[in-house]
Amino acid sequence: MAANIRPAGVFDTQYEQDISLNRTRSDKWWTYGVFAALLLIPLLTVDGPLGLSIIPSFWIGLIVRIAIYAIAVQGLNILMGYTGQISLGHAAFMGVGAYSAALIARNFDLPFWIVVPLAAMFTGLVGLLFGLPSLRVKGFYLAMATLAAQFIIPWVLRYPLEPLTNGSRPLEVPDPTFFGISFAPQAAMYYIIIPLAVLLFLAARNIIRTRIGRAFISVRDNDLAAELLGINVFSYKLQAFFLSSLYAGIAGALWAFDTQSLSIDKFQLNLSIEFLAMLVIGGAGFPLGAIFGVTFVNLLSQYIIPSLSTTLKVILPVLLPFIGIANIEAALSPILFGLAIAIFLVIEPRGIAYRWEILKIAWKIRPYSY
């Protein structure tokens, strides 16, 4: 799972080239271009100032949700893709971020731009705490330790902290304010969340080039060898846990301000598993993987499966007359989702981002095959 796949014959001739964030000029323009296009989208919806209905307005909500999830999955990517530590508790850390942001905003009347970093820092510290077992265990065992976090954290939020968090009842979150201006409408939140998501994506991409990132990768590839090279494996593992939870905390805080109504039921194990699925589908170890994975899974469950279901609901009762229509209705979405993921994994087990790199190479060296 190398993050840099290059065609034969492409070498870095200068050190600057080797460490640059965007290796080529077109890389750079791609990044900025996509960012600019994203910023334009709200202007092209019905609710925008121009009143154009080129893009349906629910794209805004969808993109915001994709961006929030992408931040969370990017965090998981740092831990799992870069450092090789499996986490089954990422949703719980997102929950910590969401609840701590909500509680800070409710109780201290602080502005949005202070609340989010505070919540993220706190989540990072909680993540550090649950990363401690990585001192002694790894692999499957570590996955279990993070699974414990996935159960213990919601429990703590639900029962001992009930006076603060409302327990099983929903917790309302105040409007996000930015220098006294409320950013509650979704289009306004869009302009906070999207730049933040892009920034965090670039940061994640940047980490690979730094000392920390290279240490992460060496821990992933061979921890014994890394130790022999003088890398303090435990310290780097903890740093990965911290960074990963920091991302989850930011995602959680943004989620809290975006929906304005929190429930612990949201941050359960199935969300952690979903994050894992998104990362593997997108391509673990690639910064772009998180974005690809989240987008793919969202499109799958929002568009592809509902539209397929509509067709199959008509066809299947004719093909399989012995099965009740009500049964088919309920069964379609899990069957299609399972099948889609399975087929996808067989075709490209290394994730979309890997395939993307291959495609890029093929484009660069065309018309030759290598």
């Binding site: 929903p170 039921d265 949201k266």
Partner: protein, 463 residues
Amino acid sequence: MRKLILTLVILALLVSMAVFVQAQDMAMPDFIQHSDCEVDLTGETITIYHFGDISGAYAFITQPLLAGLADAIAYYNAHGGVCGAMLATDNRDTGGDPAQTQAHYDYYSSLDPKPSAVLLYASGDAELLRSQVEEDGIVSLISAGSVEGLYGEDGQTPGWIYATNPLYADQLGSFCEFVAADPMGVYGEEPVIGYISWPGAFGQAAFTPETIAYCGEQGVTVLETPEIFLPTDTDISGQVLNLVDAGATILYTNTLASGPFLVAKTVVDLGLEEDVQLAGVNWALDTSVALLSRTALGSDGLPAVNGIVGSLPFRWWSETSEPGVAFVREQAAANERSLPTQNIAYLLGFSTVDLYTELYIQTVNRLGSLDAVDGAALKETLDGISYSPLGLFTADWQGGELRAVPTNRMAMMMFLNATMDGPATSGDDALKIPNDDGTTIYVPILVPLTEFAPAPDLRPGGE
């Protein structure tokens, strides 16, 4: 074989009900009493947008709900629709995942034209979407909800979500009133309620400080520590014993399907049938609970849930003297709906479609055209409506003061006797129908214990 059983069951129910169902004072001259159409809507389509947990843990309720919606829509469309407009449904599955709920809602709310109304299912969904439906001006119907979903965290801010059943907290309140009055003489001098339920928005919705205080005023103690179990638990004797040791004489559960069944089964297993009474939310008195219980019999030879008391805020399958009930039964039989489908949710599906129809007729009459109808207009109609869909319940939100229909009554689940003229007193005289899976089906009947009356208003922040 299955059809034979179905016919037998339905026959049995029909014959039996005439005897002990009391005539109610809410009799309708005719059971479908829509307003007259002033505008012809032929050629138009009205879509009922619904999203619920179709494939997840609550599927026992949602699937019959979909069946009810489908059958009702087919019937209404075949009989003129809404002043000529055809009804349609658009169902989406959330699988019980809040992120899916949000995604489906975003999709619906951005459709062009924007839906004026959506049909919600889970109380958790209502809590999540509460502020959003208000912002988007989409009025929502739900069967029952929590205080936070309908009135916000302060309990005093009515939103855009309207529930057709009383609040879960109010249901427990009216149960306490019932216990205090004790018409059956079973609850004793010092009744103590132990709350045993699932975790989460729905399971914990009735356990509020206001309810506990209200019950206390009625002379009914509610134990301060509730017990919590999961739908997957194999054995909950520990939880039940905790409550009984703390002095509970009544176990109240805010669960559905396997939840009430597991509580009842545990009470039987522990030999506590004489010592504790069972009670629950409206979903606890459901066909699914009775059917599950057929394999766990109490010491009297009847299913363990025999005698469970709960809220029954609408007419039930057995009240065949109601023309609306008889009508829904005919529809279910005509569509060959199985016994598990003939439950609360199927009734709800039918009455919801009828309510939608009336809602649109009234609104269109007021505004003059279907295009002018939006969420705010529907909300205005809902605020002022006083209408009884098929005579199953009365949709009346008290001039827009409330968000949950407050009318409630108490009923007890019993099982039909062999002569089909009343409840069985023991397993020997119960009607037993062999099922093709080798089990014996006992036919559940719900016996109303009180008349319809408003449930207490137990929102926080009141008075």
